[in-house]
Amino acid sequence: MKKLITFMANRKVWPIALVAVGALVFVVASTRGSGKSEPASKYERILTTVAEILEQAHFSPKKLDDAFSRLVFQKYLADLDPDKNIFLKSDVLQLKGLENNVDNELRTGKMAIVPLADQLFQKRIAEISNFYKIILSKPFNFSVEEAMVTNRDSLDYPKTTAEQQEVWRKRLKYMTLERYADALESREKNKDSKTFVVKADTTLERESREAVARIWERSLTRMNKKFGIDEKFNLYVGTIAEAMDPHTEFFPPVEKRAFDEQMSGRFFGIGAQLGEKDGVIRIESVITGSPAWKSGEVKVGDIIVKVAQAAEAPVDITGFETTDAVKLIRGKKGTEVRLTLRKQDGSLKEVRIVRDEIVQEEAYARSAIIEKDNKKIGFIHLQDFYADFDDPNGAYCARDVEKEIRKLKAENVDGIVLDLRFNGGGSLSEVIKMVGFFIEDGPVVQVKDRDGAVTVSNDRDKSVLYNGPFAVMINEYSASASEIFAAAIQDYGRGTVIGSQSFGKGTVQRNIGLDRDAGYFMPTSELGTLKVTLQKFYRINGGSTQLEGVKPDIVMPDNWEFMDNKERSYENALPWDQVAKAAYRVVPKSTTTKSEANH
């Protein structure tokens, strides 16, 4: 979800961002060339640059001091070992000696926490990888009454290896019991069916243990192979960024690429759909005409064993999740990826494929017509406010929605419903254009920067594309740009907002590259990118959607209401506030019906 709730700044605010970052470049320049003889390591460069950007550009930066260090340290430890079953108490005490060190590491780039955490983590994972198999090698006795606490937040770390093994024994027993109980229930339900194989209790118990063993085999292999020091460093920088607010994030290069792919709806890959089962990744389908299809060597059912970039050594992807594998397979246009495939006859084959553009057309706006109560209603679905910032001819949601509205008007619809449920946001400039389709001209959103200056963003186009009856559907997962859209439609009285109260994200982020030499705006910095909260946005009525979200005109509660998975559930969310109301006129209660609306 988190990733979906992104919101990029409007291109129109570039001058403001440039001022902020321009100042930063100056500060950075003055701290460089300080006579260091050795070139800074990648980690050092990332840490010091992140510190500078956070201090100089964040909307409301926390002071980088010991209190901040402890906050980051606690969060990092919890992220590394959320169930408190990997580290021993002694490991945590050793790490705790460094809990006030985060701010120093950010200033000097000299890293101590991550290498120590990595060393201890690897040691414990190796131990767990040995003993979990022994625990699962013998049947559990389910007639003994035992208790275990599944949420270990309030518990301490195990003090000894024996204590840790006991924690694991109970956890593995519980996981086995869940599967065993399901298997018994299924046997009871289906025992009379001719096709059902009735198995003995002992068999079902053994199969349940084997299923649990497979899960941990995969999970521990992943922790061992995939979650190395680089990944732990990325998690560390991510924790530092997110300590500022929930939407300031660190993207290592590959994550930034995934973000761009989501924003643009296109990527460079091989054109095959992958799926994971039992710890292996298989080809599920091959898109006709794609590079994988053209190679003639990639077939549905093939297992991907290794992935290599051009001349580099191959990476064994056993234990990888599909998303991790996809990140390795995708890359830059025209570059080569080598896949080692296990074919269905068991043979291994290496296939060389040159990546090409694959368009995820299914992520774009689409529409349909609903007939109900003798009326024709146009339905438009928008998954996010996408914009291909790198390509003016690429996909932009406002252009696509405009096309859909024109198509629906040609069909002579009586009204339009725009579905923004689960729409996590996107480009601000696209929202402004889209609101403009439904109003004459006027303000759409207000943006405040860290110095308190408020800028009003206007739709300057007097024409109205659609002035007929209009409704917007939202839910708890409609965030950011979706909330701006729904709020503007509500404030203008231009349509009815229906659904449940939206997410409540009222902040604007911008991506800043971390490679000083390449320049901060290099979108593909080799060191990664920091998505920083630079501004807050406000409704034209002056209120903020931050924490509060948009309250629908007609409330329809749904399944997710009780989960309270909203901006306000983040402890470090920025507060709600308001600015002055912008000058706008509420659209008079629509008196247009189809015949007039379609002129």
């Binding site: 759909q273 389908s285 898109i287 006709t288 299914e362 689409r366 529409s367 349909a368 017509i369 609903i370 007939e371 109900k372 109560d373 009326k375 209603i377 339905f379 679905h381 198509k407 629906l408 069909e411 009586d414 009204g415 419903v417 579905d419 449920r421 009856p469 209009f470 409704a471 559907m473 009815t496 229906i498 659904g499 007609i554 329809m556 749904d558 399944n559 629509s590 008196t591 247009t592 019906t593």
Partner: protein
Amino acid sequence: MRQTIEQNNKLQALDQPLKMAYMKADEDRIAVMDTMKATRYKEWLKRLQKDVYLSESVSVLNAQIDALKTAKQ
């Protein structure tokens, strides 16, 4: 718990699916898509046809359209 979830899901699915279709141009586009993609497009529509929230939203809009017509008469 399973029963409650089942009951909840049932309550949220329409007994009578909405009459909902792609426009001609889109149908032509889907007709020439590869099978998996075309299936996903069709499934998407099928899911929405049972969406009680969509059905209610359309009813709200329809009521407003009726109210507008009455006001004009």
